[in-house]
């Protein structure tokens, strides 16, 4: 479905999937805010003064050459990598900091644990638990982390696995699945924790080309359901155009250009983006 056209013709918001407003430009409190965030590995600064808001439910696609810092940006949100400078705010609360006696200090594990409950991530290499069946991969989070009963966790997992088209693989072990199936299990495993923002880090890059489609379809389906914000790091330009409310182009640790997909893909402003996109056109 082409949302842009609908918006144009109807002169109002598309009924099926509304375009989310662009982060900071509205009064809505962003679900994620990066303020002057930088990240260095040793002496090498890989992200420089990043400022970025993601609105609740907004689907943001991150594109850019490899090595530009997209993964690092997502990993800092998932608390896998600590920012070297600046501040990340999730749902109105600092992620890596907390208030203590009126001052902002480095977050402790309890704070990080509470914040992490709002964030989810799907990895390029799936990272499924190989010693657990598909079903247990998905029930273990709700059971061990959310404290949900076994029956309830089972029910939620079955529903979620059905949604990603793996209702018939409950008792199978990950090693018996194709890459596309593994990634769909990983998506179900992350979704069942009901995060408010989910990072998808090049989730199709490790897949055989013929398996990419099934995974992207599942993500599109989830995106169309709405409330969860998504940070979609991807090299699939058609997918980014279809799913994203906003596309961000980054290079060498800077956000170079951002805007609605039609603008980014049809009318790129910067030379860098133009040359980047020309590599995806045949």
């Amino acid at each position: 479905m082409n949302t842009t056209e609908l918006e144009k013709t109807a002169g109002q918001e598309a009924p099926a999937r509304t375009r989310k407003p662009q982060g900071a430009s509205t009064g809505v409190q962003p679900i994620v805010r990066y303020e002057h965030v930088s990240k260095s590995f040793g002496d090498l600064e890989v992200l420089h003064d990043i400022n970025l808001d993601i609105a609740p439910g907004e689907k943001v696609a991150m594109i850019g050459p490899s090595g530009s810092g997209k993964t690092t940006l997502g990993r800092m949100l998932m608390t896998l990598e600590e920012p070297s400078g600046g501040m990340i705010t999730v749902d109105g609360e600092p992620l890596w900091h907390m208030k203590s006696k009126g001052r902002l200090v480095k977050a402790n594990e309890a704070h990080l644990h509470r914040m992490r409950g709002k964030i989810g991530m799907v990895f390029q290499h799936f990272n499924l638990f190989p010693h657990m069946s598909v079903l247990r991969n998905v029930t273990i989070g709700p059971r061990k982390v959310l404290g949900v009963s076994t029956d309830e966790a089972h029910e939620r997992a079955v529903t979620m696995l059905g949604k990603v088209g793996l209702g018939d693989k409950l008792d199978v072990y990950p090693s018996m699945l194709s890459g596309g199936q593994k990634q769909r299990v990983a998506i179900a495993r992350a979704l069942v924790m009901s995060p408010k923002i989910m990072v998808f880090d090049e989730v199709t890059s490790a897949l055989d080309p013929e398996l990419v489609g099934e995974v992207l379809e599942v993500i599109k389906e989830i995106a169309s359901e709405g409330e969860m914000a998504m940070m979609l790091i991807t090299h699939e330009m058609d997918f980014a155009r279809d799913v994203a409310d906003r596309v961000i182009f980054g290079a060498e640790g800077h956000i170079v250009e951002q805007g609605p997909p039609e603008q980014i893909f049809e009318n790129p402003q910067s030379e860098r983006l133009q040359s980047f996109l020309s590599r995806f056109r045949l």
Binding site: I119, N127, F129, A190
Partner: protein, 247 residues
């Protein structure tokens, strides 16, 4: 010259003494397995002081002879620590257990290191607390590959039990010595001790080999074509090498 009649006459006593040897072996092994796991986990503590102390304990125990440790424990530390001094068997189990826990901790460590980093990250992304990450995700993957190496340590500990004769434990070697002190015939007695150890060690090692084969089969079934979790095989090779150095 070898005297069959004499050999047969002392064999029942030697075999009876095996019971004590087995107690010492399994007791020491279980102590070492649990102690080793604790040392391995302490070695992963986020608090550096704990890691440093852990390192120090391991280095200290490893670089002093087991025999000296046994003497020290049996004749000095344990009697001063407890109102009634523990028996030679209990002291021996503690001594063997402590000593080998430092080696086992290295085995666990290699097993833990072989779990891919992505597993930790997935656990974090699902918001697993640290303790549950260990119990549900990391250890269930880290421990099975260490089983054959653990089995080899069981054999090593078994072969070390004659040392306990030095702290008066009446195990197989002490029983042989006692027989010799009466008959003055060391040849049969020591030969039998050697043969008994040979047969039992060999049987143990066959069991370990079988376990290893089964594990390899399970492993290749469960890792399949899953590239990200491949490092496991490398970790296992490392594990095996480690025991060889020790055994």
């Amino acid at each position: 010259m070898w005297n069959w009649d004499y050999a047969w006459s002392i064999l029942p006593d030697l075999i009876a003494a095996l019971k004590t040897t087995f107690w010492a072996t399994f007791g020491g092994f279980i102590f070492a397995a649990i102690g080793g796991l604790m040392l391995a986990l302490l070695g992963r503590s986020p608090i550096w002081i704990i890691r440093a102390i852990n390192r120090l304990i391991i280095e200290f125990i490893r670089s002093t002879p087991l025999l000296v440790q046994l003497f020290f424990l049996y004749f000095y530390i344990l009697p001063t620590m407890f109102p009634t001094a523990p028996t030679a068997l209990v002291s021996g189990i503690i001594g063997l257990g402590l000593h080998y826990s430092t080696y086992m901790s290295e085995v666990y460590r290699s097993g833990i290191d072989a779990v891919p980093k992505g597993q930790w990250e997935a656990a974090k992304a699902l918001n697993f607390p640290r303790s549950k990450t260990w119990t549900s995700i990391i250890l269930p993957q880290a421990l099975p590959p260490t089983l054959p190496v653990m089995g080899n340590y069981l054999i090593v500990i078994f072969k070390e039990t004659p040392l306990l004769s030095a702290i008066t434990l009446v195990e197989v070697l002490t029983t042989a010595k006692n027989a010799i002190s009466v008959s003055y015939r060391p040849f049969e007695a020591y030969t039998l001790v050697g043969v008994i150890f040979l047969i039992i060690s060999y049987m143990f090692s066959l069991l370990v080999r079988m376990m290893e084969i089964r594990l390899n089969r399970e492993q290749s079934a469960s890792s399949g074509t899953d590239s990200p979790s491949k490092p496991q095989s490398g970790g296992k090779a490392r594990l095996n090498k480690e025991v060889k150095q020790q055994a």
